[in-house]
Symmetry: C2
Subunit: 197 residues, 2 copies
């Protein structure tokens, strides 16, 4: 990350960054990520290449900015790095809604990119980190042996796993049902031993 998006930038810089982000979002809706070149992005945003590298290290760095803006635009509480005060369920509901808002973007992303592509990984990774930061103080490991960081990690990936199932796997699931899944996966009775017949 060349520029910290948390710091308020001057109007001109903000506009330039936005232009590249918009170019990226438009391109993502059209074609696979590995067919999106820095050249084409500059073409779309109507800025010279040197300006791109002025603000971003590479395509992925621009993606960081894009995902961050996505959260910012929906006034996501989980983005507040100051105080992590949300429960796991509250966090889950927030991200559920965020993904719901950007359903059409997600749809074109998975149409154009394989699920194990660097792009999808980058996306998933970003929001896993966001969730982790949001819930890390909410996990309670008093009665178990597993380290709390690992449990928090597990909770974040579980949340993402369910949202991937819904929005990347294109299954219609209401928030209520999704919350049932979450409860079952995190504290439900999953049998480790196969029933030998």
């Amino acid at each position: 990350m060349k520029y910290d998006p948390n710091i308020k930038q001057s109007r001109g810089i903000e506009r330039t960054q936005r232009a590249f982000a918009t170019a990226m979002f438009d391109s993502l809706a059209e074609k696979p990520f590995d067919k999106i070149t820095v050249n084409a992005l500059c073409e779309k945003a109507d800025y010279p290449r040197a300006t791109f590298y002025n603000y971003f290290d590479d395509k992925f760095d621009l993606l960081n900015f894009c995902w961050f803006k996505l959260g910012q635009d929906t006034h996501l509480d989980v983005n507040n790095t100051q105080e992590n005060k949300l429960t796991i369920k509250e966090t889950f509901a927030q991200i559920y809604k965020l993904f719901e808002d950007y359903q059409s973007l997600l749809l074109s992303i998975i149409e154009n990119n394989p699920i194990d592509s660097p792009l999808v990984n980058h996306f998933v990774r970003h929001f896993t980190d966001v969730i982790y930061a949001s819930i890390k103080n909410s996990v309670d490991t008093k009665v178990i042996h597993t380290p709390s960081e690992l449990v928090a990690q597990h909770c974040s990936t579980t949340i993402i796993e369910i949202l991937k199932w819904i929005y990347l796997g294109q299954h219609k699931v209401t928030l209520d049902e999704a919350e049932t899944y979450l409860t079952e996966l995190l504290s439900g009775p999953i049998h480790l031993q196969k029933n030998k017949q």
Copy 2:
């Protein structure tokens, strides 16, 4: 994947593929993945570039081959795509041992590559898929509402999560302890509600 590694190849082809895989493993121990160029791999393997592209689509395609060979070399039962007959715990123990065997490789990988790099993602993804294939018939979802594919997915990522904690996060954890983690994360009492004080 240009060539199916499951199909027995002629000796010459096998040797050439091995040479590239060895070049890749050697390079991974030395430097970050994005500094490993196809040119350099060909240099190391002592084959022309066209030969590389003859066998592999790109660097990632070679990685597929590498990870597969890793499993093959340790006679991993989970690689048997024919019959998936392992319980979750058995599968976990097998992959635990595989990672233990290749500890030094994993160590240099995480020294040279960020945890969210395409390389680490590719590696993790490969073994998540291996585990998923191995356990998908072992999950029991009779008493819950969550779809069995999602549960199987959840079990695979949980296994990988623990192994990442141990081998990529460099925490010393015995197989016994690791199995405790697995039981707790998959069927333990994780509280979703934060204890309000």
